[in-house]
Amino acid sequence: MEATVKSHFIDKGEKSPARPAILYRPTAKTGLMMWLTTVDHKRIGFLYGIFALFFFLVGGVEALLIRIQLMVPNNNVLSAEQYNTMFTMHGTTMIFLAIMPLSSAFFNFIMPLQIGARDVAFPRLNAFSLWTFVVGAIILNIGWFMHDGAPDGGWFGYAPLTSRIFNPDHSIDLWVMGLQLLGVASIAASLNFIVTIINMRAPGMTMMRLPVFTWMTLITSFLIVLAFPAITIALVELMMDRLFHTNFFEASNGGMPILWQHLFWVFGHPEVYILILPAMGVISEILPTFSRKPLFGYPIVVFSGAAIGFLGFGVWSHHMFTTGLGNIATAAFALATMAIAVPTGVKIFNWIGTLWGGHLMMRTPMMFALGFIWMFMFGGFSGIMHSAAPADAQQQDSYFVVAHFHYVLIGGSLFGLLAGIHFWFPLFFGRKVSEFWGKLSFWLIFIGFNVTFFPMHFLGLNGMPRRTFTYDGNLGWNAPNFIATIGAFILGIGVAIYFIVMVYTYFKGERVKRDYWDGRTLEWSIPNPPPEYNFRVIPTVHARDAWWYEKHHQAEIAQEKAEHAKEEAEHGGIHMPFPSIWPFFTSVGLLIGAIGVAVINHDPSPGFWGTKINVSMIGGVVMFISIYFWALEGNEGYHLHPEDGEDHDSAAKPAAKH
């Protein structure tokens, strides 16, 4: 923070040079304009969360439709095409539009608070990431309202099924374009987080004092930055094949469909860790808090997280054990996959070590966290079974795999993130969720989840393949499918209760004081909801669990804080940036361009707007103009001078000026 405080950006009262009105930054503090222009990491995190939860419900409805179709053999609730669309969009939605942005919401909201920063490194880039994510989500889902329908090529989009020969309609174009935009959003956001974590840590916050959630944010961000280029290459090649008749995957012209699988899974496997590591980070915060002792073996947990991230790039072909890799490659990837089980197992050992000898407070977040460990163990163990490649030849693309990755992604990622929402809710909104309703929703979700997915292990071993819209009744699959559907509805009711309670609590929940759970990390040191400047005084960190240390060394810290406060006041108070609309318009430009590429017909229809190239160009122009204005608009902000006693609410006096 030193650097920011002393930078020439700080407006010390002199008038800024005159410039056209359009280049002045907006100052809206309320209403739609505030949300569209916000650069506050907490508001952006909140928006990520809202969008993610919306798409989580959309993906959930898709899942229920799938389960209804498979409830009984020879069922005909959905047509083949509808069913294929459902599982494609269920997978794509849950991965890219629900779990990832929900993790992103936590990165945004919590990570800067954990490292004692007042915002992320590039607030406007952060807004751009958010709006580009929204644009990608729109493009992916716009097909529901079009004649060609939503994508139905599977979330993995294997070539050549996704080529124009076998899938001539626009739905695949939407998928290709939507994922590219989501990639842009994810990479921009991740770079932002990396720079933030490396450069904006409070004094004394060394890397080995970072809270584990922040560590996982860092590792996940690196995974995103390194993995998304692979899928982007694949998507661009597929787009070229579809739009310009190139031959990357076109077998009849010598293209290699297998290339798609390699590129996709070089992204796809790290993606699995992109989905699970944030949840592991959340769990590593919750368990110490509710055990009231530090994380067991912090360095090993951090190191194993990094090891998982590293090895995660070397196991992609275990998704391709049945593609005829040959003995050596199969053996190598099987062994690498087994190796990755070691750091994963180490985390589980350390979580148990954290519980050992603690005073376990069985609150709802703790319930979800313990549920996470149990369910993740199941998913991890079936994962180890998959690493035995010859056995995997029987399990690949069967319901055994469906069971496995739902244990990892629901029992793992989702339980972790649901635990996180409960855990940080008092910090986000200053209200607490009812323990009764929280625990009720936990048990419903936990039971419903197991009733749904445990029978699928049996289904898979009994030979039921995935992605099948119907099955015959003479294969012994009837009872598990029926039970799974019942479980899906229990799970659905649990999730519904969870969210209804959250909405209720947001408006009517009991208000709580700061540090409701007796937390250990810096985000609990600030009032709730957090003021826009986060920290009245940037904290100085002396130990790993910084806030726990502060609470137990109050006199020392108070004196230190007073000194820092004085220093900061001398530098002109807390500098806050003004909002900006240009990130939003840049994303709008991308939306128009994407519509040009993916929605407009291949054969031009009459009129200016009927031609792909015209619409795409308009989008490009909007984007470039917005970037230009983004660069040229002033970098002013305003200063805040929160008084000593104002720590308990966010009523600091803003002294806005241009």
Partner: protein, 429 residues
Amino acid sequence: MQLPSLLRTSGRIAARALFLASTLLLTGCDLNFWRMDGHQTTMIAEGPVARSQLHLFYVTCWVVIVIFILVGAALAYATFKFRARSEADEHAEPPPQGHGNPLVEVGLIAASVFALVIIAIPTLRAIWYTYEIPEAEKANAYEIKATGEQWWFRFEYPKEQIENVGPLVTSNELVIPAGRPVKIDLRTSDVIHSFWVPKLAGKVDMIPNRGNHLWLQADKPGYFWGQCAEYCGDSHAVMRFRVIALGEKEFKEWLVAQKAPARTVTPPTGANTQAKPQFTAFKEWRKNEAGYTDKFDVSPLDNWVQQQYPDKNEDAALVIQGRKVFQEKTCIVCHTVRGHEGVGINGPNLTHLGSRTTIAAGLLENNPEQLARWLRHPNDVKPGNKMYLGIGAMKGYVTTDQRGNVVSHNIVLSDAEVTALVAYLNSLK
């Protein structure tokens, strides 16, 4: 797919609610699924490849169960032992702030590595064993080429050359010699498919521009269920097949019969015989309705043998009429009936269709009712199939525009024509 059609289906969902409630009671009696003894189960191995894979599965299964019990016990113990049980517990002084124990960590890491080695050794052994036929048995191996098509399988027997024709070609029912390793070359003519006969061997994908293979062996004669295991478009779920393993002698007999041209029914003496209708009325089938009879499952191999013999009650006049319809309705453009008129290769080879136990790629039992169902409404049975929509320049039942709307009907079959076609196809033993 579209939102309006979704809304329509939600209406149908409501209508099913009652039906589903009654099925709840039915399935309540069928909770033996943990036995996993279905036709397509991976838990019953009937050949050395599947057995090697199953054996490895059990190794992994036992290793993880042991680890699970140990770790789970530790987790459960910690949860119950250290739980705050009273108000006093909750407000007690925090416990000692320990940061971990390197010895415990290293010990646990070593233990995990050891557990993985237990899995790794049989894994490596099985990788090599399942990949290639053992050297000693290679000489005895039989070779077959399987090609995936949207949405059926083509099987070629390169060792069985037919004069002036080429290799023996059949489809959807793969007949192999039992007790002998079979090497199967896996190809595809369109998208990626995957060849999976769980009781005989794990799956291997059929990928464009890539020569894959697998080997399998059936211990003894038998009838096995198989299915495409890689998502390959609309009708992936109904792309199935069968493998029939025969003893050496039966296999030879079968080859002789298959290499012969299609069976021709002699015209009945006495001119001007009018075809008797085989069906009083056609049943209207629901979409996805089961196309098999329970009777068939009891002894499928015997039924397969039965299927090899001509139907005693066949109506020769009807068969001859059906052969004519087969030409007139342009079926011959895509289907080969060797020795008769059919020459096309886009669709399954029908030379000995009547000798197969299933039609429509292992989906429907091969009997007159199901044949009629398939011929009358192919798109209801197998959405998006090429017989209905056409392929390339070959026209199917209908022609559609870019948006998928039907613009013209090219093949229209009257009930009488369907009856005749069924009789003809049924006679192709």
